[in-house]
């Protein structure tokens, strides 16, 4: 404050004082700024929509004269912490950061969003994962969902109505019909993050009917008191795992080249289903223009009315955080200004919600008062599930750092390739959780 006052005094004394004070007066519009501030953001939200995001940044920079937003490329091969820790060590932290799993690590280094315009536009449920001990450390980018993706044309040609698949039995029947028509039933991806984060979440999200009950399962796993082999939901989940393995039409590939292969398969028209998320939609649409894709629940129970059978896991894939340790006030203001523009201005909303084919990011709006509605099939499907309240939680948001690697890269892939038994898998998952710090209860590592 003192420094600020001194600076102000010096300015008044100078000959250019008048013009500058006019510019700094609160009544002046945002279009007049004495000095342009560069605001740095790490990455482009996701690599899939990099071009569209950078176009939005360009439009923002042209729309006002106070801030220049600059996206600095992180190394996509590295994790968030791998990118960020050296930057903090070099006193060169980016102002805007975007992540999910590492929110607990960053909580004491970032700004509290409380009271800002954006926070008021989001429902509390979508803010929960970024609320650490009462501090709102981040705001959501969009909602995403995962489940069974399907090629609409392939299913229609085989006479399958995805809305009528309500149990695991129904699903197997649909697989058989597809095979009878000479198609491959499903591409079940063995890529570690799909297995470690998303497929395991199908169990965790179905494991309890309330948020508290689901966290209690995590508690018991951490305490080492949970016996998964005696858990009915876990057994259903295992049977589903076996079913998808049995009808998997693709060659098992445990390496990273698998992701592209799965998209190529579903878009090729030779496969009916793929277990993935709606983030693949832009890639699917680019690979097969004119083909429609949908998303539906993965039913794990043989009874249609079992909790979760008719719902898809919907969650926030990441939150925007603003550094509070190494940034200036002007940089933080610019960061808030950019994100507010992106989600509330007409132009910004088009970049957010328009489909990729129209230069947008294809995001599902999570802020109230969105004028632009999502236009793609999967986004509309998800919106319907959300409206009907048929959503499951992303418990994987609460997994401790490194757990999805340990489970996904080792035990899940071993079970996938028949290296271990189902009892081994249950034990391996229990061992991976045992003793982990209860970060989902706000415990510090």
């Amino acid at each position: 404050m003192k420094k600020f006052a001194k600076l102000g005094a010096a300015l008044v004394a100078s000959t250019v004082a008048i013009s500058l004070t006019v510019a700094a007066a609160p009544t002046a519009s945002a279009a007049t700024c004495s000095k342009k501030t560069t605001v740095e953001m790490l990455g482009t939200i996701k690599t899939e929509i990099k071009d569209q995001f950078l176009a939005a940044v360009k439009a923002y920079n042209a729309s006002q004269k106070c801030y220049t937003l600059k996206s600095i490329p992180g190394d996509a091969k590295l994790t968030f912490l791998q990118n960020v820790t050296p930057m903090y060590a070099a006193k060169n932290a980016p102002t805007i950061m975007y992540t999910l799993q590492e929110i607990p690590d960053m909580a004491d280094k970032v700004m509290d969003w409380k009271g800002t315009k954006l926070v008021k536009l989001v429902s509390p449920g979508l803010l929960a994962a970024a609320n650490v001990g009462g501090k709102q450390v981040g705001v959501p980018s969009t909602a995403e969902a995962f489940g069974l993706l399907y090629n609409k044309k392939v299913l229609a040609d085989a006479g399958i109505d995805p809305a009528k698949i309500k149990t695991r039995g129904d699903l197997e029947a649909a697989f058989k019909v597809l095979q009878g028509k000479g198609k491959k039933a499903i591409h079940f991806s063995a890529i570690w993050w799909s297995l470690g984060a998303h497929f395991t979440n199908i169990f965790h999200a179905n494991a309890g009917k309330t948020h508290e009950a689901r966290l209690a399962v995590l508690d018991s796993l951490s305490d080492g008191t949970k016996d998964l082999s005696k858990d009915a939901t876990f057994q259903n989940w295992l049977s589903t795992f076996d079913l998808l393995k049995k009808y998997n039409g693709s060659t098992v590939n445990l390496t990273d080249t698998e992701y592209d292969a799965s998209i190529a398969d579903l878009s090729s028209g030779n496969y009916g289903f793929l277990f993935q998320g709606n983030w693949t939609e832009p890639n699917l649409m680019t690979a097969a223009p004119g083909t429609d894709f949908g998303i539906m629940p993965l039913p794990i129970s043989t009874t249609a009315t079992t909790y979760g059978n008719d719902s898809i896991p919907v969650g926030v894939p990441g939150y925007f955080m603003i550094d509070a340790k190494q940034s200036t006030k002007a940089e933080r203001d610019g960061a808030i200004d950019f994100l507010t523009w992106l989600y509330t201005s007409d132009k910004g909303q088009h970049f957010v919600a328009d489909p990729v084919t129209k230069g947008g990011m294809g995001f599902i709006p999570v802020y109230n008062g969105f004028k632009v509605q999502p236009a793609t099939n999967m986004a509309r499907d998800i919106a319907k599930f959300v409206a009907a309240g048929k959503t499951l939680e992303w418990i994987n948001t609460y997994y401790p750092a490194g757990l999805q690697e340990t489970v996904g890269k080792v035990s899940m892939q071993q079970y996938f390739t028949d290296k271990i038994s189902s009892a081994d898998l249950a034990k391996a998952i229990q061992d991976a959780w045992k003793g982990s710090v209860k970060t989902w209860r706000g415990a510090k590592k």
Partner: protein
């Protein structure tokens, strides 16, 4: 008087030379200061800081208190640390032997009277000019797609499933790529050794009627033992430090069974967020590499012939 004068002169000369040496020291200090400062700045200081961090609760951002040997105890209690160390040792031994045998063989070929030796020399060296990550990605494609496609067409049973899908085969995939990458470089070291052998010794042995194999075993190899010391040291160090090919080729998979020690440390620190144990494992690894290199250099020095 004369004596005294001589004494004085002597003293003067002595003083003069002392001053000269002092000046030289000063000049040397000035000259040496820059590299010494850079050396401490980029090597000694980070090393000491890193070493200090192993005794703290460092979380990648800051450290708040000293924790003694906790990080080391935790590291030694981690079973994956030991399995990774075992895998790394095996990788180092196998790659060390194969790389050097191949490299020495290549060096013999390109120093023979073969007509295409100059082209071959370039040809063998080129893989070394490709960066590890690029190399890994290329070979990942070869193992995952190219070979599998060919195998299915021509019914080669052993290649039908990608080699990167199986722990043992993925190990050999790592070895193949490492050999392919570093043999060319070690070949250059051996070529230097081979051409440094004086012609008169070789001619003498020829006149004595030594066979080419005899010449190789009793003349060439002992006289170029220095090249072996260097090449063995480089491959030993390279094996322990191997990282980029590991990341890009197998990524530690399948089932994290092909993680070499560098990748394991990196994962522990940056994926699991255990910076303290990650750093202490790095210190342990440094000690192992230093010890192994020391033993290797001492042993192979003994075979060097002084002329």
């Amino acid at each position: 008087m004369i004596l005294l004068k001589r004494d004085l002169t002597k003293q003067y000369i002595l003083k003069e030379s002392q001053m000269a040496s002092a000046r030289a020291t000063k000049r040397f200090m000035k000259l040496a200061f820059t590299p010494l400062a850079i050396f401490s700045l980029v090597l000694v200081v980070p090393f000491a800081t890193g070493f200090y961090y192993t005794f703290t609760d460092w979380d990648g951002f800051e450290s708040t208190k000293l924790v003694g040997f906790d990080n080391y105890i935790k590291s030694f209690k981690d079973p994956t640390f030991w399995s990774t160390l075992r895998f790394t040792t095996l990788f180092v031994l196998v790659s060390l032997v194969i790389v050097n045998v191949v490299a020495f063989g290549l060096a013999l070929i390109v120093t023979s009277s073969l007509r295409s030796k100059n082209i071959l020399r370039t040809f063998f060296f080129v893989p070394n000019l490709i960066g590890g990550v690029v190399l890994g990605v290329i070979w990942q494609f070869i193992f995952n797609s190219a070979i599998v496609a060919l195998a299915n067409k021509y019914n080669w049973e052993i290649f039908k499933q990608s080699w990167l899908q199986d722990t043992n085969k993925a190990f050999w995939a790592l070895i193949i790529v490492t050999v392919w990458q570093s043999s060319g470089y070690m070949m250059i070291v051996y070529i230097t050794g081979l051409i440094s052998i004086e012609q008169d010794v070789l001619e003498a042995s020829q006149i004595d009627g030594a066979s080419p194999l005899r010449t190789l075993l009793t003349i060439k190899i002992p006289l170029m033992a220095q090249a072996f010391t260097i090449a063995l040291f480089l491959t030993l160090r390279g094996g322990f430090m191997a990282y980029d090919v590991n990341v890009a080729l197998t990524g530690g998979g399948p089932f994290r069974t092909t993680e070499l020690i560098s990748l394991h440390i990196f994962q522990d620190a940056f994926a699991n967020g255990n910076f303290g144990t990650g750093q202490s494992k790095a210190v342990v690894m440094f000690l192992i590499v230093a010890l192994a290199a020391l033993v290797q250099v001492t042993v192979s020095k003994r075979y060097e012939v002084q002329r």
